[in-house]
């Protein structure tokens, strides 16, 4: 059983590194970073406690929100999805990404305390 899992994973990794364009890999690295940051924050909360709760929420929501927006960006600039986003150019996707981030950070900063 574990054999097949390992083989699936290695196959996946191989496919990923070969067929994914560089741009998307850059975004994926960013996604990984955001994920780790959020996970570490959650770990702190579990270990040490929720004080101050508003700061924890703000930080965690920042990570979650950033992750979601980055995923949206990735979907929109993926050339394989071009058919579904005919009216949205990669530049437009990036501009949306920046605008949404501005709003997110406004909220996060308000809540961070």
């Amino acid at each position: 059983m574990s054999n097949s899992v390992i083989s699936v994973i290695s196959r996946f990794l191989e496919e990923y590194s070969s067929s994914t364009p560089n741009k998307l890999k850059v975004v994926d690295a960013y996604l990984l970073y955001i994920l780790l940051t959020g996970a570490l924050q959650f770990l702190y909360c579990l270990l040490v406690g929720t004080f101050p709760f508003n700061s924890f929420l703000s930080g965690f929501i920042s990570c979650v929100g950033s992750f979601i927006l980055a995923v949206c960006l990735r979907i929109q600039i993926n050339p394989q999805n071009k058919g579904e986003f005919l009216s949205i150019s990669p530049e437009r996707a990036f501009a949306d990404f920046l605008f949404a981030h501005t709003v997110l950070h406004l909220v996060v900063m308000n809540f961070i305390g």
Partner: protein, 621 residues
């Protein structure tokens, strides 16, 4: 002032307010002030005349009036004419011109005030007045000026006209105005325009009613309510107001139809052996005595037993005061309800009054016997008699095996009847510690008072403190003229289980209490700084990973074009991030949004340009 009770139903209302003699004096002094112009002279002179007071120095007043007179002004002529009529030997010369001005004012184009003043001036000066014309003008004006003061002026004007004129229409206005009065709680009846309007209305209504000899359509209760409204105010704001009150007082004490009566007791309504007569003052609203009246008690009954003690007993007039020797009927002490009727004049209003009279007496303590009784009654009691007001020669001792007993009677000094006053207390006062205990002495069925002190039973009241206690008897009641506080004897009480006599502490109610320290909200427990710092570093670490990954992937900024829009975009974006930090540290949402709008706008435009250029480049390549 002794206020009388109003009984609904059988009895009518009785006046709650009137002008007492001090009130009349105050009104007079207000009206006697030095006058500065004709109007105040008019109010002063006429007001004082109505109160029956003398106006000082008629000659000087006459000179003043003549000097201030303006023969071309209707108001001036009115004030002068009316004032000069009130003082003797003052004739105002009148020119034809003045007379013409006055006659010309009688038309429906003049105001009601002008018509009233012109007609009054003509009448006072003895000049002829065309009464029917005046009536026509008044009727027309009433339709145009529908307010209370105007119609009151119309009523007063009509009272100066010839009796042959048709005054019926104007007379009906009295009823209309009465309907406009506001009833306050069944006690007051007044116009919302105020005291002056109400008082002038009363004056005018009675003036016109007397003139045409027709009773005004005011019910007795309404008259009393008007009296209450007009005379409840005891200090007056203006000369005009004082004049209106004086006019109303004169009208209500001297008209052909309704004269309200004010009955009050002189001093407290109390009779006793030393003061056996009940004295009543029966006056009109201006505190002038009604000498021609007959006052009698219709019935009087005792409040406690409801037995009738007087029936149709007359008062005798003695030097302006009505007297009745009530004590001659030998009433028992207590309260009596009198119903008094004032007769002799058909005009009298509110002439049935209720009065509560107190009969007080003196009390004496008789047969005061003190004894110490053994509980098991093996030893005979030794009774000591003490006479008021002396004290028992020896003190009494009672310990836990004995009871201390006291019996006495309270009798009326004059009649010998046994009394049961409201307050009969026995007070024991410890001379050393200052402690006092009070008990109530109760009468038995034969009205013999008994008090027994069981030393063992009552030790808690005394805190078991043995010692010498002074015994006092306290007797009091509203109907007793001589309340008693009598130190009867000294009693030595011996208690079992005596605790160390604690000094009695005065009640510590008003002593500063212990201070309360305010506890501020404890800050929440924070984790140690080491832990926080460690995790901060840990959370920052993925960023390092990101940079490494990007480097490995070959992400670079080699395509960075130095066009102005690109630079502006990046600068703007950096500024926005900086603004976020500043927002966290210094600003509030509103300021941030303001700055964000500016920076964001610039960044947006630059970014738009930059991305468009990138897109073009991408399409070309």
């Amino acid at each position: 002032m002794f206020s009388l009770l109003a009984l609904a139903g059988a009895q009518g209302l009785t006046p709650a307010h009137h002008l007492s003699l001090p009130d009349v004096a105050r009104l007079q002094s207000l009206l006697s002030q030095q006058f500065t112009d004709l109007e105040s002279a008019y109010y002063s002179v006429l007001g004082l005349t109505k109160l029956g007071a003398a106006v000082s120095d008629h000659k000087q007043v006459c000179r003043f009036i003549k000097s201030q007179l303006d023969p071309t002004s209707i108001d001036s002529v009115f004030f002068a004419a009316e004032a000069s009529q009130a003082i003797s030997g003052c004739e105002i010369p009148v020119s034809n011109e003045t007379r013409d001005i006055l006659l010309a004012a009688v038309s429906e184009d003049s105001t009601m005030t002008q018509i009233h003043r012109a007609v009054s001036a003509l009448s006072s000066l003895g000049l002829p007045v065309a009464s029917q014309e005046v009536v026509g003008a008044l009727t027309a004006r009433i339709n145009k000026e529908d307010n209370v003061m105007a119609i009151t002026s119309a009523l007063q004007t009509a009272a100066r006209l010839s009796k042959q004129a048709e005054l019926g229409g104007i007379l009906e206005e009295i009823e209309d105005l009465t309907a406009r009065l506001d009833d306050l709680g069944g006690i007051y009846l007044q116009f919302e325009e105020g005291l002056e309007a109400t008082a002038m209305f009363v004056t005018a209504a009675y003036s016109l009613s007397d003139h045409v000899d027709m009773e005004p359509p005011l019910k007795e209760d309404q008259v009393i309510q008007l009296v209450n409204s007009i005379f409840s105010k005891k200090s007056w704001d203006s000369l005009a107001e004082a004049f209106s009150v004086a006019s109303a007082a004169a009208a209500l004490s001297n008209n052909r139809f309704h004269v309200p009566v004010f009955v009050s007791a002189q001093g407290p309504a109390t009779v006793s052996h030393s003061q056996p007569t009940l004295q009543l003052l029966v006056t009109d609203v201006m505190s002038q005595p009604l000498a021609s009246a007959n006052v009698l008690v219709e019935s009087a009954y005792a409040v406690a037993s409801k037995s009738i003690i007087l029936n149709q007993a007359p008062f005798t007039l003695n030097d302006g005061v009505f007297e009745l020797n009530f004590m001659s009927k030998q009433p028992a002490s207590g309260y009596y309800q009198f119903t008094i009727a004032v007769t002799g004049d058909s005009r009298l209003v509110a002439n049935h009054v209720e009065l509560k009279v107190k009969v007080s007496t003196e009390v004496a303590v008789a047969n005061m016997d003190l004894s110490v009784v053994d509980k098991d009654q093996s030893i005979g009691t030794k009774t000591t008699r003490v006479d008021y007001p002396s004290k028992a020669k020896s003190s009494f001792t009672a310990d836990s095996h004995q009871n201390f007993a006291m019996s006495f009677q309270l009798v009326d000094v004059n009649t010998g009847v046994e009394l049961t006053p409201h307050q009969t207390f026995v007070r024991l006062h410890n001379q050393k510690t200052g402690q006092e205990v009070v008990f109530v002495a109760e009468p038995d069925s034969k009205n013999l008072y008994k008090f027994e002190l069981d030393t063992a039973e009552r030790k808690s009241e005394f805190d078991s403190i043995s010692g010498t206690y002074s015994l006092y008897l306290i007797v009091g009641d509203a109907t007793l003229e001589n309340p008693i506080l009598w130190n009867v004897a000294d009693v030595v009480l011996k208690f079992v289980d005596e605790e160390a006599p604690a000094t009695i502490q005065a009640k510590t109610l008003y002593v500063p209490k212990p201070e309360i320290q305010h506890l501020f909200r404890e800050p929440e427990k924070k984790p140690p700084t080491v832990v926080s710092n460690t995790f901060t570093a840990l959370v920052m670490s993925p960023f390092l990973l990101l940079l490494i990954l990007w480097f490995k992937l070959g992400a670079n900024i080699s395509n960075f074009s130095f066009s102005p829009s690109t630079i502006l975009f990046h600068v703007g974006h950096a500024a926005m991030l900086g603004l976020m930090y500043v927002y966290w540290t210094h600003l509030n949402m509103f300021q941030t949004l303001k700055y964000l709008a500016i920076i964001g706008g610039v960044t947006f435009l630059a970014g738009n340009r930059m991305l468009a250029q990138k897109a073009v480049k991408r399409y070309v390549s």
